[in-house]
Amino acid sequence: MNEWNNDTVVEVFPAMWEGFIVVLQVTLVAGLIAVLLGLLVAIAERIGPPWVRRVVSGVFQFIRNTPLLVQVLFVWTATSLYINPEWSAFAVGSAVLGVHYASYTSESYRAGIEAIPVGQWEAATALSLPTHRVWGAIVLPQLLRRSSAAVANWIIAMFKEVPTLFVIGVLEMIAQAQKYQGQHYDGAVEGYTIAGILFLAASYPVAVAARRLENRLAKSHY
C-alpha cells in the first residue's frame, strides 16, 4: 500500500482538475435535460390523455426507484451493443443522468403545480383562456417561482452523483485518479482526497445560496 505523499498531490492535481471540468460539463448538459424534461413530464402528467399520464408516471416511477448506476450500465450496454457503438460515454452518461434527475425534478414541479391556488385555475376557465395562455401566462410564472429552489437542490444533488459515470469511462475525477494510478502506481489516495475536497469546495457555496433562495422565496410569495 502506498504512503501519503505531498509531492504526489501536486503531480496528480492537474489530472484531477481536468476531471473536475468534465464533472462541470456533465452537470451542465444533464442539468439542462433534468430541468426541461422534468417540466415536460410534470405537464404531461397533468394535462396529457389518461394513457399518456399512466405511461409517463409509470416509466418515471420506475426510473426514480432504481439505481442510477445500473441504469447507466444498462443504457450504455444497449447503445454500444444494439444502437450505435460510436456514441460517446460522455453523451450517453449525461443523458442517463439527466433523465434520472428529471424523474426527481418532475416531482418538484408537480408539487409546485398542485400548490397553485384553485382560484387561479377557475379564473382562467372563467375567462375562457386557451390552454397555452393558461400555462404560459398564469401557471408557469408561478410554478417556476415556487419550484426553482427545489429544482436547484436536485441539480446540486445531481452534481454530486456525476462520479458514478466513471463506470462507463467518462473521465471524471475517480477515473482520472485511477488512470494516474495505472500509469504511476500511486496517486489514487491523493486523487480521491482531492476529489472530495473539490466537491466540497464547489457544492457548499452553491448549497448555501440555494438555501438562501429557498428562504427568500418562502417569505416573499405566500
Binding site: 416511477q61 445500473v70 458514478t164 472530495g196
Partner: protein
C-alpha cells in the same frame, strides 16, 4: 438476447440479493443512529454541541457519496491507518455516515416543527430534558419524519449498488459478472432483471414505511392520510442539500 440463459442463472442471484439487502439494512441502521445523534445535537441550544455536529453534517453532505465510498475503501487505510477486513464494511460505513448526515436534517426539522407550547408545557410539568425528549417531543416528531426517512431509505437502497464498485458482490456486480460471460453478448437482460429486482425492493420499503407511519400516527391519535398509491421521494427534498 437469450432469455433462457437469464432464467437458468437466476439461482446465482440469490446470494447477491442477500448482500444488497444486508448492505441496505446495515447502512440504514447506522444512518438512523447517526441521524438521531446529529439531529439532536444540531437542535441543541449550546453552540459547543451544535458546531461540531454542523461541521460533520456539512462535510458529508457537501461532497459526493461515490467519492466518499472510494475514500473510505482505498484512501482511509493509507491516510488514517484504519483498514477494514472486508470491503463491505467500508461500504456500509460510507453509506451510513453519508445518509445519516442527510437524515439528521430530517430529524432536526421534525423536532423544530413540534409546537412550542409542547416544550413549555413539559417545562411547566418540571420534566427533565431527557423526559421531555422521550415522552413529549420525539413521539410527536417521529411520525413526521417517517415519509422523508422512507424516501431516504429508498435512495440508500439505490446507492447500495455503488458498493459493487469497491468489489463487493451485490446484485449489480453479479449482473456484470454473469452477463459478462461470452464477451458480454447477453449482458442487457441481466441488467434489466436486476433493475426489476431493485424496483421490487424499493416498493417493499415503501409499503413497510407506509404501515409504520400509520401505526406511529395512530399512536398519537392522528388518522393517517389516505394512501396516495405513488412511490415518490419528493419529500426527501427537505434535507437534500
Amino acid at each position: 438476447m437469450d432469455f433462457r440463459e437469464v432464467v437458468d442463472s437466476l439461482p446465482r442471484y440469490a446470494e447477491p440479493l442477500l448482500v444488497t439487502i444486508q448492505v441496505t439494512l446495515a447502512s440504514a441502521a447506522l444512518a438512523l443512529v447517526v441521524a438521531f445523534a446529529l439531529g439532536l445535537m444540531t437542535s441543541s441550544r449550546h453552540l459547543a454541541v451544535r458546531t461540531p455536529a454542523r461541521v460533520f453534517v456539512e462535510f458529508f453532505r457537501g461532497s459526493s457519496v461515490v467519492v466518499q465510498l472510494f475514500w473510505f475503501a482505498f484512501a482511509m487505510p493509507v491516510v488514517l491507518g484504519i483498514q477494514f477486513d472486508y470491503a463491505i464494511v467500508a461500504g456500509i460505513i460510507a453509506l451510513g455516515l453519508n445518509y445519516g448526515a442527510y437524515c439528521s436534517e430530517v430529524v432536526r426539522g421534525a423536532i423544530a416543527a413540534v409546537p412550542k407550547g409542547q416544550f413549555e408545557a413539559s417545562l411547566a410539568m418540571n420534566f427533565t430534558p431527557f423526559q421531555r425528549m422521550r415522552l413529549v417531543v420525539l413521539p410527536q416528531a417521529w411520525p413526521e419524519m417517517i415519509p422523508s426517512l422512507c424516501a431516504f431509505a429508498i435512495m440508500l437502497l439505490k446507492a447500495s449498488a455503488l458498493v459493487s464498485l469497491i468489489s463487493v458482490t451485490d446484485l449489480t456486480a453479479m449482473a456484470g459478472l454473469v452477463g459478462g460471460r461470452d464477451g458480454g453478448v447477453n449482458q442487457l437482460p441481466h441488467y434489466a432483471l436486476i433493475l426489476v429486482l431493485y424496483f421490487i425492493l424499493a416498493w417493499l420499503i415503501w409499503t413497510g414505511m407506509r404501515a409504520l407511519e400509520r401505526r406511529a400516527k395512530r399512536g398519537i391519535g392522528i388518522d393517517a392520510k389516505p394512501e396516495k398509491g405513488r412511490l415518490t421521494p419528493a419529500v426527501a427534498q427537505k434535507g437534500m442539500t
